[in-house]
């Protein structure tokens, strides 16, 4: 396959469906175990790799009516065991705590994509303090999942902004103080590694061991597991790749590292993603690209059986989930 030049004109040269066909794979839905809600694009940070293009300037937010409908869908479908709340910084949504409390009351496992620094930065618009979050998470036994691109400042601040590493360490100490990541507490605290550029993550288990060693030795910190996630070539990161002339090389790398075993475990086979308007998507990346499930549907028309029959939509960015050891919201897939 000829590599296309940077830019959109020749993007179709990276044909994910053809790669699946060559590998003899037919990736159909297996279940809907997780309902993943992107409740707001507002964030106290503006990370360079963010596939949501989240920032303090964003205003998109899910309405209370849509949140209540998501809860009704959870209540009506006990087979959906987990709620995964993301953003932006989801804690900045005014109904975030209502959503968590109601979902846990329904007996669902709740995961929150928590960026750590929001604890210290507070709300970027209202300036409301957010330092109560560790206690709130612990009260509801939420699984906390937080990005920390490396166990050192250099990579972390390069990707997430100056001063983020220091604040992240302090926020992690606060989470540890209420029991998160501490053996026997039952409070799960996982970290996420993203490469700080157009390269693939190192082996998840090796990185996890190194993170644990360094964060414990240097900061006395504890966490449960590390998820390695590949940077998706969309939005802000794609723009960076194009501007720096690295887009084609990155896509070539993802294509060359296509791993059928990783492809079989892609997360879109087991979740449904919901945007702030209530529209449904195969994953959060498709959501950010406006690629709704086919046929288009919303949380107000949620039909489990129909969704299980849908054809998952793939595009060239999907090579990000199938390269090397694979990538998903829960880390490596192979």
């Amino acid at each position: 396959m000829n590599a296309p030049a940077d830019g959109n004109a020749t993007i179709r040269a990276y044909d994910f469906d053809a790669a699946l066909e060559t590998a003899g794979l037919n990736l159909t839905p297996q279940s809907i175990d997780i309902l993943q809600l992107n409740v707001t694009k507002l964030c106290n940070q503006a990370c360079r790799h963010c596939h949501v293009d989240a920032s303090p300037a964003r205003t998109e937010a899910m309405t209370r009516e849509t949140i209540e409908q998501c809860l009704r869908v959870l209540e009506a479908h006990p087979q959906i065991g987990a709620l995964d709340i993301t953003g932006g910084a989801p804690e900045l949504h005014p109904d975030f705590e209502f959503l968590v409390a109601q979902a846990t009351a329904l007996g669902r496992h709740v995961m929150v994509r928590h960026n750590l620094t929001v604890q210290l930065d507070g709300h970027p618009v209202s300036k409301r303090a957010m330092d109560h979050l560790p206690a709130f998470f612990a009260q509801h036994k939420v699984e906390v999942i937080s990005s920390l691109p490396y166990y050192q400042q250099y990579f972390t601040d390069a990707q997430r902004g100056g001063g983020v590493f220091k604040k992240s360490i302090e926020a992690m100490q606060r989470l540890n103080a209420v029991g998160y990541g501490i053996d026997g507490s039952g409070l799960i605290f996982n970290l996420v590694y993203n490469p700080v550029g157009p390269y693939l993550p190192a082996a998840q288990s090796e990185l996890e061991a190194e993170y644990k060693k360094h964060l414990q030795q240097e900061f006395g910190l504890h966490f449960n597991g590390l998820f390695t996630i590949t940077n998706m070539p969309i939005h802000r990161f794609k723009l960076h790749l194009q501007k720096s002339g690295q887009y084609a090389a990155y896509m070539d790398k993802l294509l060359a590292a296509f791993n059928p075993a990783a492809a079989s475990g892609v997360m879109c086979r087991n979740l449904i993603s919901v945007d702030h308007t209530g529209a449904l998507f195969d994953c959060d990346f498709n959501q950010q690209l406006g690629m709704t499930v086919r046929p288009r549907s919303t949380i107000f028309e949620f039909d489990y059986d129909a969704l299980m029959q849908r054809r998952i939509r793939f595009e060239d960015h999907c090579f990000g989930c199938t390269a090397g050891a694979g990538s998903s919201c829960g880390g490596a897939t192979a």
């Binding site: 250099y154 990579f155 490469p195 700080v196 390269y199 993550p201 190192a202 082996a203 090796e206 990185l207």
Partner: protein, 111 residues
Amino acid sequence: MSHYFESDDLKKFGDIGRHAKSLADQFFKYYGAVTGTDGALTKREKSLIALAVAHSERCPYCIDAYTTACLEAGANPEQMTEAVHVAAAMKAGITMVHAVQMNNHLDKLVM
């Protein structure tokens, strides 16, 4: 005007088999076995060694390739820079140890 060491030329590495495919195939099999897998040394350790050699041998292709390989093996800039210092120290040591030969010859020449 053509140039040496265009970064895009690294993609043509596989073409070295154009006129001697069997030998190239054997080389790449060996190369992959040595550098691409964990053995008695980890992939990261091998990548750091390769990065150091890339500098001492002054190969721009290899510096690009093994900077990326080190990152993909989880190495950080401190470790990578130390590896380059090992190469530099070896180069300096190799230069300096030749002074023994100089001194030997001085001893022979000087009455």
